[in-house]
Symmetry: C2
Subunit: 428 residues, 2 copies
């Protein structure tokens, strides 16, 4: 079965935003076993949107439109889809009630134009939006399924995961089942070269590598008549990957992020954690605190961006800063030790680096980052050289810190050894 995406939004045509929704939907639909041959982007324009949708429903089983469901007059995806599919718009009482509740909760008056969001094409299915006011909509016409989703990723993604995936799944013949092997501490090229032979010879299951910041995900997908058969097909391949990547695999579960894997490792070992951040300025703590239940182990975080703060709060020595500089293994190490003393945490992590754009020298270029992790008495310091802009360097540093925490805790508590040649991405 085939799927096609139509992204609606002048802001994409103008290049104001990158179309990450299309990448997300492509990945998820491929995992569902749908083949995607076309994607397109049009603006908030009735005529051109209708033209694209007409072409799409002729050649694809599922057509997923995203964007243009907002309350403003610019937003006309629903109106256009209703017209192309020959439906009139009717008020959906359930959606109306939800919009009312949404604004009541905010303690605000409902702007008149928001009622437009409760209108649904006749016979269409309204899908609850837990993160906004625009419901999603499914219009069925024989074997054609037209699915309308809100544009903001924080609305689109939860709605797709909760309601659209189960909806699509009922129409896909046989079963497709996939498992993602999530790896940290190995770069994309290296990971790919480690599975090239498997990808070259693949039939069923297949392997697809996805590069994330500081991580590589290998999605293994099998097609079979039922889940049991598909799982049976997957098993030897996942086993093979486990033997190749060893301890660098942090999870094979869909909903386990790297920060959650680290948090669970800390909780399982009853280890408290604190961090001290310079260039990342809170990004590491913010990722850890995105894990619900982290309060059990998270003690405190310190953002010490200036040398003064590093000295005054963490007790980094003046002599260390003068001799080695703020971006050095010695400073990273003293920061980690300082935060351990301050917070009495079992595990303490520090990050100090040059995120740019200015301040780089030949000896210490932009992208140079030191990360230290202290587990009980053991301090490990790693040097990294990242590329990209300021934000990319900070994100890479944060991911690397999570990877280093994981490695240090595993090495200390589980006596796990990390294989040779599996050096951290960007490590010198």
């Amino acid at each position: 079965m085939t799927v096609e995406f139509i992204s609606v939004g002048t802001e994409i045509l103008l290049g104001n935003i990158v179309n990450t929704n299309a990448a997300y939907l492509s990945e998820k639909c491929a995992a569902l076993g749908l083949s995607c041959y076309y994607q397109c982007v049009v603006g908030d324009n009735e005529e051109r949107l209708a033209e694209c949708l007409q072409a799409a429903v002729k050649r694809s089983d599922f057509v997923i439109l995203s964007g243009g469901l907002g309350p403003t007059q610019d937003d006309l995806t629903k109106e256009t889809a209703a017209q192309v599919m020959g439906r009139k718009l009717v008020m959906d009482k359930h959606s109306k009630d939800r919009i009312k509740k949404y604004f009541d909760k905010l303690g605000k008056e409902i702007p008149d134009n928001n009622w437009k969001q409760a209108m649904v094409p006749e016979g269409g299915i309204a899908i609850d939006n837990d993160n906004g006011t625009a419901p999603g909509i499914i219009i069925e016409d024989g074997n054609i399924h037209v699915i309308l989703l809100p544009g903001p990723p924080n609305e689109l993604i939860p709605m797709f995961e909760k309601d659209i995936i189960p909806y699509i799944r009922q129409f896909v013949p046989g079963t497709i089942y996939s498992q993602t092997v999530k790896i940290c501490g190995i770069g994309e090229s290296k990971a790919e070269s480690m599975v090239r032979d498997l990808i070259d010879g693949q039939e069923n299951p297949t392997i697809a590598p996805y590069a994330k910041t500081g991580e590589v995900h290998l999605r293994v997908t099998a097609r079979a008549e039922n889940v049991k058969e598909a799982k049976k097909l997957l098993k030897p391949m996942v086993k093979e990957l486990k033997s190749r990547f060893g301890a660098c695999i942090y999870s094979t579960e869909d909903d386990v992020t790297l920060e959650r894997a680290v948090a669970e490792l800390l909780v399982a070992n009853k280890l408290t954690v604190s961090c001290a951040e310079s260039c990342t300025g809170g990004m590491l703590a913010a990722r850890l605190i995105n894990v619900p239940g982290i309060s059990e182990v998270f003690k405190s975080g310190y953002i010490t961006y200036s040398n003064k703060a590093k000295r005054r709060i963490l007790g980094v020595k003046k002599a260390t800063l003068e001799k080695f500089g703020a971006v050095s293994a010695a400073t990273a190490s003293e920061m980690a030790k300082g935060v351990a003393v301050l917070s009495k945490a079992d595990v303490s992590v520090s990050i100090t680096g040059l995120a740019g754009p200015d301040g780089g020298t030949e000896e210490k270029p932009v992208g140079l980052v030191y990360i230290a992790c202290k587990v009980k008495g053991n301090v490990t310091v790693e040097e990294f050289r990242f590329t990209g802009n300021r934000n990319k360097i900070r994100e890479s540093s944060t991911a690397a810190a999570l990877g280093l925490m994981r490695r240090c805790v595993l090495e200390y508590y589980s006596k796990v050894t990390f294989g040779n040649g599996t050096g951290e991405q960007g490590r010198k």
Copy 2:
């Protein structure tokens, strides 16, 4: 004049990579004054690519294809374009020489299939590729310009900047110029209703609203014979927006983010800043530290997620936590005061809230957030009720904290008054 993009690549259809080329080309072409109404993505498939290209040359003046110019058999963009445009492929001697030189420089034998890259559709213009072996190609047919570019961004971008921009520029009459009015503290619906009359009557310039978390951007765009004329057309509209949104406008510059506007306000008033974060866990500090040069004013940040950390580090009173709870105006206020004492910063901000998913009660639901901002002796505390998942609530809280900091500093130092009915998004 119009432009349309066709991105060729199965890796985009599978969601393995995000289509950043399309965003780059969109932005550049918009700046050149071209209108883009369609973008599409197809795989390395002759039939479907031909279908898309045939549709594109019928409706657009410029059609830019990217990807599929490599040396492998999968790469068939050039062959398909030649066929659609009715040209045969001929060897281009200049390109052949360049490919030879490229491999000579690497000290490598030239693989046989690389000669394919020196073939150009008859009458086509080959564009040198300084970062790879595949030349770009321009095919002209009357007023239609079909431009083929290599897919890797590090080849596409330099080629576009060096040769394609000057090529396009000779055909574009007049100019397009736009300015973005960036607003914080007003929701999307409300902002849109405040400019509905302007949007209804718009011709030149036009207004387009873009919703961001905690912000709304209004892009005003004018077309004219030259930049001077376009700016003249923009001016009264931007002035009108300034009179309607007043102090809620934090910038009209493309490269000024909300955190940068706040940072510049602090630097301009020589005010140092520190923050104490609970539910956001470092996100506020991380956004501030994304501004290069923030070190001038950023003193320190404290992540106090647990009650114990709030008491021990910030000196929040046990009685306050017991009587009002961690998520309360009283706690937020004591956190801000505590961090001010600790860091001696002129401005101190605190965030405490319930980000969920668990822990909400009827009285204190998930999404309830208190933000306090202390400017010298003045403490302002605001209550917010946000919706969405854990991460969305945290992002909304961070944006609201930046907005509150801006407002408090402006009210204290510039005696600016924020108009009635322009309350913060989500404020109760």
